[in-house]
Symmetry: C2
Subunit: 197 residues, 2 copies
């Protein structure tokens, strides 16, 4: 009886250990250095065990990606409870996006297949990403009540500016200090939000 109860728990611990280890290696050595065998070594199992938790490396990466989107969703949701002003909301959401990419670059990388991270499962049509899209669209709509088509265009623009600056800031961080990029990011996103009005 207690075996039945202990087994799932340990199973869940092992599973999250795999995810945690994959992220740790990626952070330390980059995604190209993440291998099933290395993960297995770190959690003190043999490689085939990993396949009892994830059907393939792709599925493992997809899970980390979805974790990332779910994390973003929660942060965005928190912003909505903290602020009522739609402009403030969208601006703060922009800052959260920057902070996330800054604090957990390895997750941001796998979310967008950057820097050697490659998950071939399609990221669009993933529920977790669509939830993020919806919450940002909702925020934009709440202060620009236009047709859905227009909202999606504005969302595409907001996303592009934010994502573009984040990826280029990462790319150029050795010749353009990240603090400087952040300042430009803040000004640009503030302007974007203001100009929506």
């Amino acid at each position: 009886m207690e075996i039945i109860e202990r087994k799932p728990r340990n199973r869940e611990q092992t599973r999250s250990g795999i995810l945690k280890t994959a992220k740790a290696i990626a952070r330390r050595e980059g995604w190209q250095a993440v291998s099933i065998r290395k993960i297995a070594d770190a959690i003190e199992y043999s490689a085939p065990i990993v396949y009892e938790y994830f059907d393939s490396k792709d599925v493992l990466l997809d899970e980390i990606r979805n974790e990332g989107f779910r994390h973003l969703y929660q942060e965005y949701d928190r912003i909505l409870t903290l602020y009522r002003d739609p402009e403030k909301r969208l601006f703060e959401i922009s800052l959260v996006q920057w902070e996330f990419a800054r604090q957990q670059p390895e997750i941001y990388q796998v979310m967008y297949n950057l820097d050697g991270a490659l998950c071939s499962l399609p990221v669009h049509q993933s529920e977790s990403m669509q939830a993020v899209s919806r919450i940002v669209c909702k925020t934009i709509f709440s202060f620009i009540p236009k047709a859905e088509e227009s909202i999606r265009r504005l969302y595409f623009q907001w996303w592009s500016v934010s994502h573009g600056m984040i990826t280029l800031a990462m790319l150029l961080k050795n010749e353009q200090p990240i603090e400087q990029s952040e300042q430009v990011y803040r000004e640009t996103m503030r302007r974007f939000v203001r100009d929506l009005r």
Copy 2:
């Protein structure tokens, strides 16, 4: 005597054959499918021969990346000879960037380490990329004669918007038609250029 003349020529042909083959495989199957052995097979040589032309796979990818930046540079330069109006110039440069990513996505991918392409040699401090930076900065300066610092900020903003939209348009192309993304891109870049004034 004729050997000495034929050798360098064939060498150059073989070299460009390697580059061409790498790009062809990447276009067809994605960068994760590009291997030294596959390239060697295609040019009907054994794998170690590739190493007589490129010290490593990284160096090979770096060369393709630089080819891409040099190509962009030439296109930008052509724009400068075609138009005199700075606004028109920057807008046309933006369109060239879009068209380039559209026509040769596999090169755009390796230039920015997207979708499994990974070249670990640092892309900043590459001469070919700096030349591209300079020509765009020059164009911006020619109609906003501010301090170099301000120009670099504007360039960073221009580049971010363009790059962000291009990468997200690629990412979302299965749910948002590319023609629609292109329309938003054109409007956004036109607005960006107009607002510089």
